[in-house]
Amino acid sequence: MGEFSSAFAAAFQLITTLDANLVEIVCLSLQVSLSAVLIAAVIGLPLGAALVLLPIPGKRAVVVFLNALMGLPPVVVGLILYLILSRSGPLGVMGLLFTPAAMIIAQVVLITPIIAALTRQVVQELWAEYREQLLSLGCSRKSAIFTLLWDGRFSLITTVLAGFGRASAEVGAVMIVGGNIDHVTRVMTTAIALEVSKGDLALALGLGIILLSLSLGINATAFLLGEFAKKRIGA
């Protein structure tokens, strides 16, 4: 018990003194996850809306596939990307393996289906409500994509936050393609796994507390946004 309390004390000290190693890991984690979320949102938001509004051949099969991709096992994604990015793989010449870029790619692959599938649900509900009105106003289905993404903005921010939550908590894929190299590709989740195996609970706990705070912060933001939207725009 004493060991745990001293580990907690050390963890809080690392946080309060802004330990350089801890800050570096947190910053890299945020850099990787935020980049991944940005790219995934740019792909996933219009993709999800297009699946509702545009006449895409085999749309149902695409939706089923997309929903299935939401449950992609991260280690499998990591393994496939490892094979693609390794020297003998098709994209080996790019030299991306064991770089933050590879970790961003892995997270984009994991969260794009989540953002696209959740966006599709939000946009489908809005389209059911708006369809006749928008068509009556002379809005094309293509233009309706932007209208519905804007009108569903508060729900969609929650969707993007869910993607960020998943990205920042991911460990399997980034461990494989990033390699958990100190000062290069070490992020919060991979660092926690490593430090626990080494028995250095203080840094692991410090990072764990930050990760947990981040998760709570995301959920609180999503909740508050929902409340704000209800009051402000009657969503």
């Binding site: 708006y130 006749e132 009105q133 009556s136």
Partner: protein, 258 residues
């Protein structure tokens, strides 16, 4: 170029194997105010949606000034206000501006025209309010303003004052009069006879998806030829089953004195 007259020929609409609009044929001239009367479920709203191009007909055709293809040009000269107003999740002003944006009106003019139309419907003070938190009556007036601002040649109104109190209904009727006075042709469904008398120049009576009578409003209200229309004007209850055949068209119906 005007899109009118509207000519509808043998228009039918089927859903789940059931024919809901039956061989509708009529012509609507520019500047008229046509009231489509009938009981609930008669097919009034379906007929409006078919004419406006929101539904595809199973048979027959809708032509705008002889053009049977529902082009972007004819679409942009029409507007529709629905029974339940659908407001975008934006301010009242932004809802109006959105309609103008779709009609490629530049930003400065959009703002001016949006404010002007909000003033006309008495909602200028609520311009910056989120549209969806307005009262039901205000939302319907906003929907009217959104339709009005694009200066449509034809305005379809699907029971725009259903569920509104007399004061709100009066506001809606004033707005309809104002829009019509600018030369817009009005095609409106209602089962409010008083409203049809106040607003209509022409009347179409529809029952079970079939148009049973078309007449000038004054002629219709002074004595319709069709027995079901007569019963409707008397305030009798109309429903679907009838033992003896309908003399005019062989449609099963029953007239019950209320």
């Amino acid at each position: 170029m005007s899109i009118l007259p509207l000519e509808v020929t043998n228009l039918c609409f089927e859903a789940r194997g059931k024919r809901l609009v039956k061989e509708a044929t009529f012509r609507i001239e520019a500047g008229s105010r046509t009231m489509i009367l009938g009981a609930n479920g008669a097919g009034k709203s379906l007929l409006l949606r078919l004419c406006h191009g929101l539904l595809d007909a199973s048979e027959g055709q809708v032509s705008w000034n002889g053009d049977v293809d529902f082009t972007d040009v004819s679409r942009k000269q029409q507007a529709m206000v629905f029974q339940r107003p659908v407001m975008l999740r934006r301010t009242a002003l932004a809802n109006i501006e959105y309609a103008l944006k779709l009609h490629h009106v530049d930003q400065t003019e959009r703002r001016e025209r949006a404010f002007a139309v909000l003033k006309k419907v008495g909602l200028a003070r609520l311009a910056d309010q989120p549209a969806r938190v307005l009262s039901y009556g205000e939302q319907q007036r906003l929907a009217m303003a959104r339709a009005w601002v694009i200066k449509p040649k034809v305005l379809f109104l699907d029971e725009p004052s259903a569920s509104l109190d007399p004061s709100a209904t009066h506001s809606i009727e004033e707005t309809i009069e104002a829009i019509a006075s600018e030369g817009t042709t009005i095609i409106m469904t209602t089962h409010d006879l008083g409203q049809a008398k106040r607003l209509g120049t022409d009347v179409m009576f529809i029952h079970r998806g079939r148009i049973l009578e078309q007449a000038r409003a004054a002629d219709f209200f002074s004595g319709p030829e069709n027995d079901l229309a007569q019963a409707f004007l008397r305030g009798d209850l109309l429903w679907w089953k009838r033992k003896k055949p309908y003399p005019g068209g062989g449609i099963d119906h029953q007239v019950s004195r209320g």
